[in-house]
């Protein structure tokens, strides 16, 4: 298994009239073939910006400040728009949050799919149509021939997301970026779409960067999980490690804030405070003001990523040898289920 996407020390800012907004700060991760990496975090922590910047879909005022993006062994950080276009859809494609608005309302879905195929492959219209129908069948859409001619408004939300997925997978990309693909959907439809993403990607070895704030969804689908806070990855590890042995206080907070836990404890935990503004952020750990375990050094210096296991890293001073030992909250104390 080779690495298909590698992001190293990647920072991205928006230049606005008010100043520089540091939306993504020193992010690094690698994505193996066929692997599903989930990125979780609160709204506004930079998940979507990170995704869109990988495909370079951001407005012009988004500027890469440092780092590299390597896709299939090639450094694409400095690629021109023209070269990026040849990658989009072909090597890396994206599924968006709301299937109600991401399809063009006036164009039959079949045409929107063949458009994606014809863009990257030199084949005839008939062959493209055959491929699109095959794709629709693979996305488990019944009566694909009839649906092919339909406008999006005649399809249900789940059906539309299947079409969006078909478009994203049309040219067999190596990396699929899924930005909360199930958030706008009904819960029963959610699982079906998740299973579909899981099975198709595992079958064809497509690596998935899966954005979500729903930990149940993440638990179902992810091989590895990265926790993002204020534009930074604060903890990254296998799903098992993140869910059963979390080390960062923010991860504790996120896991503790699940409604499912509240059923047991009759109390819904929440993380105090609000996410910080990324406009001229202060020095130190940005989570410190909301962290009950914050140390003095948290306000002065940004914690580095401490390694816990070969796959598990967390950026908190609590992992420093000199730090006091703090027990994770009681509700997290359950051994990994085998």
């Amino acid at each position: 298994m080779g690495t298909v996407l590698e992001v190293t020390d990647y920072s991205l800012s928006f230049d606005t009239p008010e100043g520089e907004i540091q939306a993504v700060r020193n992010v690094g991760f690698a994505l193996e073939e066929g692997e599903i990496l989930a990125v979780v975090g609160e709204s506004g922590c930079g998940k979507t910006v990170l995704c869109k910047s990988l495909l370079r879909l951001l407005p012009k005022n988004a500027v890469v400040k440092s780092g590299q993006v390597t896709l299939c062994g090639e450094d694409i950080t400095a690629y021109s728009e023209r070269r990026m276009r040849s990658l989009r859809g072909k090597q890396i494609s994206m599924v968006f949050q709301d299937p109600m608005t991401t399809l063009n309302p006036t164009i039959p879905i079949g045409k929107q799919i063949t458009e994606a195929i014809l863009k990257h492959e030199k084949i005839g219209k008939q062959a493209a149509k055959a491929q699109a129908l095959e794709l629709l069948r693979r996305m488990e859409i019944d009566h694909p021939e009839e649906r092919f001619e339909m406008q999006p408004h005649l399809l249900s939300g789940g059906m539309r997301q299947r079409c969006v997925l078909a478009i994203a997978l049309a040219s067999r990309p190596k990396v699929l970026v899924a930005d909360e693909p199930t958030t706008a959907l009904d819960v029963t439809v959610q699982t079906k779409i998740l299973d579909l993403i899981l099975s198709t990607c595992k079958e064809s070895g497509i690596a998935v960067l899966f954005i979500s704030h729903d930990l149940n969804v993440v638990a179902r689908i992810a091989d590895r999980v990265a926790v993002m806070y204020a534009g930074k990855i604060v903890e990254i590890g296998t799903a098992e490690e993140i869910f059963y042995d979390p080390r960062h206080p923010y991860t504790w907070g996120l896991l503790g804030a699940q409604p499912a836990l509240a059923v047991q404890t009759k109390q819904l935990h929440s993380i105090p405070g609000i996410p910080p503004s990324l406009l001229n952020p202060p020095a130190g750990d940005l989570f410190a003001p909301r962290n009950e375990h914050a140390l003095a050094i948290d306000y002065e210096e940004m914690p580095p990523l401490f390694q816990i296991t070969p796959t598990h890293f967390a950026a908190t001073w609590l992992l420093h040898p000199n730090a006091p030992s703090i027990e994770p909250p009681a509700f997290l104390k359950r051994g990994p289920r085998r």
Partner: protein, 334 residues
């Protein structure tokens, strides 16, 4: 199912025809009353200066003869009865049937109006696409500023300046008329006469519509589906032409439909400035001379054009975007 579709289609056509007839009827009543409320004496235009030397008895006889003495309702009923038989009455000024006055000129106006109408929207769309593709660039901002400035040039003034430069000084184009005498069928000759009026028409309407379409396109470019299209690897150009323009098309068609009176009124001014024989110049004249019958005919022609074009726009919109099909349910009831 198909039979049912067929029936509902027929029903729809019938309903629209009924609506058309009703609107025309109301229009005729309003125009009839308004024309007669305007101050002035139609006898002046019929008899010219001779009116001043006529005795009051002669004036009364003249009025009776022209049917102007009856009460307004009687006059209207008489007029509409004749109109249904295809008789739109005499033109008071030209002293021949109103239809005969209008029919030779209507072609001239239609040629000028239609050409400028199509050119205005073609150029407006192209300009809007060019601006939207380079949004907020120097070129876009420059075009916006120049466009706005040019839009506010009064068209009658522009017409006169154009005549001064291109007809009098350079002698490239004729300054008036629709064609040279005896060359009504010579297309090139007609075109040469149309160039200057067309320029005036286009300059005075272009930016208004280009700016509207540009705004619509920019709204459209901010939609989510544009990101998906970009994610497919499409170029900006492909996205604007194949996706956005298609979605803006219903708006453009609607704007085109409601702008018919606007562009038509533009032809009226161009016709007046360039002395172009058409129904625009004729309308102004008929209103000025209280030429009731001629005015009514012209109002009805213009009204029919406007209503028919908005109906055509509705049909075209339904073809482009099937969501617009009338369901008989208003948006509020859904």
């Amino acid at each position: 199912m198909p039979e049912n579709d067929h029936l509902s289609f027929l029903k729809k056509i019938l309903l629209r025809l009924l609506g058309f007839a009703l609107t025309m009827l109301i229009l005729s009543v309003v125009a009839f009353c308004f024309a007669r409320c305007a101050p002035g004496d139609p006898l002046q235009s019929f008899y010219g200066d001779a009116v001043e030397s006529m005795t009051s008895e002669e004036l009364i006889t003249a009025r009776t003869r022209l049917g102007l003495d009856a009460p307004l309702t009687t006059q209207y009923v008489r007029w509409i009865g004749n109109a249904f038989q295809g008789d739109f009455g005499l033109s008071l000024k030209y002293k021949k049937p109103a239809m005969d006055v209008v029919s030779p000129l209507i072609g001239n106006t239609l040629i000028l109006g239609l050409t400028s109408y199509l050119l205005v929207f073609l150029l407006a769309t192209l300009l809007a696409v060019a601006c939207a593709l380079h949004e907020d660039s120097f070129a876009d901002r420059l075009i916006c500023k120049i466009g706005t400035a040019i839009y506010y040039l009064p068209s009658f003034w522009l017409g006169v300046v154009l005549i001064l430069i291109f007809s009098i000084h350079l002698k490239w184009f004729p300054s008036s008329g629709a064609y040279d005498i005896g060359r009504a069928r010579d297309i090139l000759n007609r075109l040469r006469h149309m160039v200057l009026p067309l320029v005036v028409m286009i300059v005075s309407h272009l930016w208004y519509y280009a700016y509207m379409i540009r705004g619509k396109l920019l709204d459209e470019l901010r939609q989510d589906y544009v990101l998906l299209a970009k994610g497919k690897g499409l170029t900006n150009r492909q996205i604007v032409w194949k996706h956005c323009l298609r979605n803006v098309a219903p708006t453009i068609v609607s704007i085109m439909a409601i702008s018919i009176p606007h562009v038509l009124s533009g032809t009226y001014i161009a016709e007046a400035v360039f002395n172009y024989p058409g129904i625009g110049a004729l309308s102004i004249e008929s209103a000025k001379y209280h030429d009731y019958n001629l005015l009514m005919l012209l109002v009805l022609i213009t009204g029919a054009l406007v209503i028919l074009s908005s109906m055509a726009a509705q049909t075209v919109n339904e073809v482009i975007d099937p969501r617009m099909k009338e369901t008989g349910v208003s948006a509020w009831q859904r």
